[in-house]
């Protein structure tokens, strides 16, 4: 846990747990591809830091995630609109949007946060592997993040034994349902287009778009949504 100038920052282990679940839930399976030189024990992969950052953004900004769910309900791409609406409602319920939000800095081409420390923690424990694609160190085209067997085991253990951390897993599942296996650039475009207006000001990214999305959900469902306690 860290707070700098009023901006909430997660602790390093929280970052690590969150990234672990993102990799566990959203990573593409890679066990069957024998042609490729895979790190030993790799069970899943997220290719490109852009995709990792984009997935992380949705996980730590529930209002944006809910908004994208509503986009999909409205444009008909949601496989199960009913559950999507329920998920959106849960994401916007009570103080949850504020309590589970970890704002990201708007950087060059989208939301970004340095993940090196958290990744290092996962890497040191042999939970993940990070591979550079291209001709490192001079020319790195892309970074691929592999979940290793131990990582999957720890994720399963946390899922079972740490209820306080369970929401990361659930949230990562929703993020996957929204993001699918689209590339980082594609996701960034979606997020950027949608969030463009709301993020013109730095402060706006902190307060999020909760109220707007709540109103949108209320319009769609015809029921009031909010911190109804």
């Amino acid at each position: 846990m860290a707070e700098q100038e009023g901006v909430r920052r997660a602790s390093r282990v929280q970052d690590a747990v969150r990234l672990l679940f993102v990799l566990d839930r959203c990573g593409a399976s890679c066990g069957t591809d024998e042609d490729q030189a895979l790190p030993q024990g790799a069970v899943g992969v997220i290719r490109g830091q852009k995709r990792l950052q984009a997935l992380d953004f949705w996980l730590r900004n529930p209002d944006y995630l809910a908004d994208e769910l509503l986009n999909q309900v409205e444009n008909g791409s949601a496989p199960d609109p009913e559950s999507a609406l329920t998920q959106a409602r849960d994401l916007l319920d009570g103080d949850e949007p504020d309590v589970s939000r970890y704002p990201m800095v708007r950087w060059r081409f989208g939301a970004w946060e340095p993940l090196d420390d958290a990744l290092a923690l996962l890497f040191a424990h042999n939970l993940i592997a990070v591979e550079a694609v291209g001709e490192p160190p001079a020319k790195v085209e892309r970074w691929d993040y592999y979940l290793l067997t131990a990582g999957r085991d720890l994720a399963a253990e946390l899922r079972a034994d740490a209820p306080d951390l369970a929401w990361y897993d659930e949230r990562a599942a929703i993020v996957l349902s929204v993001a699918g296996q689209r590339s980082g650039s594609q996701l960034k475009e979606i997020q950027y287009g949608q969030a463009e207006y709301e993020r013109t000001v730095w402060k706006a990214s902190i307060s999020g778009i909760t109220e707007r999305v709540r109103e949108r959900l209320a319009r769609i469902t015809g029921q009031p949504v909010g911190a109804s306690e």
Binding site: S11, V13, D95, A124, L154, D164, L165
Partner: protein
Amino acid sequence: MSDFVQAVARKAGISDEQAGEILARHGVRESGILPKPHRLLVRRIAFTGEKTGKSTGAVDFSWDLGPGLWCVTADNLRGKSTILEIIWWLLRGSDALQADVRHWIHQISLDAEVDEEPFTVYVDTTGDQLTGTLTVGTQRHITPFTGEPEFSSVMGAFMMDRLGLEFLRGWRKDNAAQAENDAESPDGQVIVTSWPAFSHALLCRNRENDALLGETSGGGTMQSLLQMFVGLPWTTTRRDAGAALNLLQQSTRGERRRAQQDLQARGASLEQLENQLARARESAAQAEAGPSLEAAADAVEQAAARLAELTARHADLVQEMHQTQQAEEELHETLVLDQARLRDLRETSVAQRFFGALKPTCCPRCSTSLDQLPHAELSEQHCRICGSEPPEGPVDSSAADDLAASIETLKQAHQKAKKAAQQAVSAVTASETKITEARTALSVAQTAMPAESALRVHLEVARLEGALEERRAAERRAQQPRAKSTEEAVLEAAAKEADKRTKAASAALLGEVSAEICRLAIRLGMKELQQIKLQANGPLNVTKGDSRTTFTAVTPGEQLRLRIATLLALLRVGQSSGVGRHPGLLLLDSAGAQETIDVDLAEVLSQLKSICEETPGLQVITATAKRDVATHVIPADRLIAAAPGEPVW
């Protein structure tokens, strides 16, 4: 209150005071008691001048006179009448002289006396205007005058006063042509008999004249003179009342006529006005049904006050709402912050527990295997990467617990604040509703204010009521039946009462006068005369030779005798009864002009002479062309006789 006023009041059926007031207001004088008669006596007539034209030479005439019979005799057109006329002119103040004669005479002086008070009239005709003086009494009080009107006015005032005469008012009806539009009772005018008219009683001329007395028979002048000489009591009263009544009736008729013209001139009929008024009253009643102006203004004021009060309270509520909302928001912010911190604490604690149980396998920076790291040989408790010692004792979870407890408290406080904020919002909403209602109430109250038209309709009612009343009054005036007003009744009663009293008083007197006229006329030569009956209103009935006739129907000679006889009779009876007011001066011109027999004239003159002797204070100045008779009958000291063909002056 006099007996007369009381009688009038009884007749008119009103109080004595009211009757007295009305009679006084209309100038109806009581004349139950007549003033005593006064005596006028000419002492001396003198005039100077210069004849021009055919006759020439200086004029310087004077004649001293006294009581009794005096005579001037000359051929006709030799100035004898002029002497009488000059005397009459100076007493009267009004000119009756022939123009050429007047031109010759420049200064005239008349010495005379009234009841032994001497007075002198002096006239100078030489200037552009006549000038002169009236000098009265032993104190020689001088009143100058310039011009005929002033001369007439000075002499009139003096004679009326000294002879105790009253201006007589009479009524002369307009002629039929003028009174065409009111045939019922023609209009007329009041005429006043004053000295120029009275003075005819002094002169008796043998000119063509139907009048027994005075210049003409018309206009009641003769009547006035007759009553004047006889001194009948109550005649003045009767004439006053009659004239006032005529005047009053004329003004009433005029008013009614004007009112009728007024009614025709006005467009709106009574009915139209009544309809208009009914409509206006209806409108007014509708306006009345609404709230009064005061009540409406009150309601507006109250509504405005309530609105102001609610607005003020609303501002307080809004402020309170903002405060509670802010408190709620602050609490919520803190709550969210604490919840986030608690989550971070717990997650970190749990995650650290799991990661702490793991054993790093490589350096996260260089991927060097742990076996080859410097801290590989350290105990299991140490970090194999950085060599740091494990934390001592179990992880302190009290911070998280405290935070959790604090969050619970915060949650309750937040709930409370939230409820308070909701209540504040409800209060504001309710207040807004009330304000809206109050605002509506105010505008309703303002709408209920009586419009300007309501006031105008009241004014219209008042205006129409006024117009209607005026109109009704006009109709009353115009359609007034001939109901007598109190004033009319009083004046009528006064006229009747005075008439009654006049008749009672005059019956005996006129009988006496009539008998005396008859006696005197016989003495003056009307041997066949059997009876004379003088009526109070003037006509003289004559019975001679067993037939009845009137003054106007007898011969001019008989008329002259009757005229002289009447004057003398009135004078003598008045004197003996003490009620006549003739001043006792008679100027008889050409007493014998109508006569063809000298004896008759001699008889007239001798009778006049003896009448004068019988009647104290009587002065008779005669002029005759019968020189022989005059010189025979009249003593030389009382006679001025011009030689045949010679002028008197």
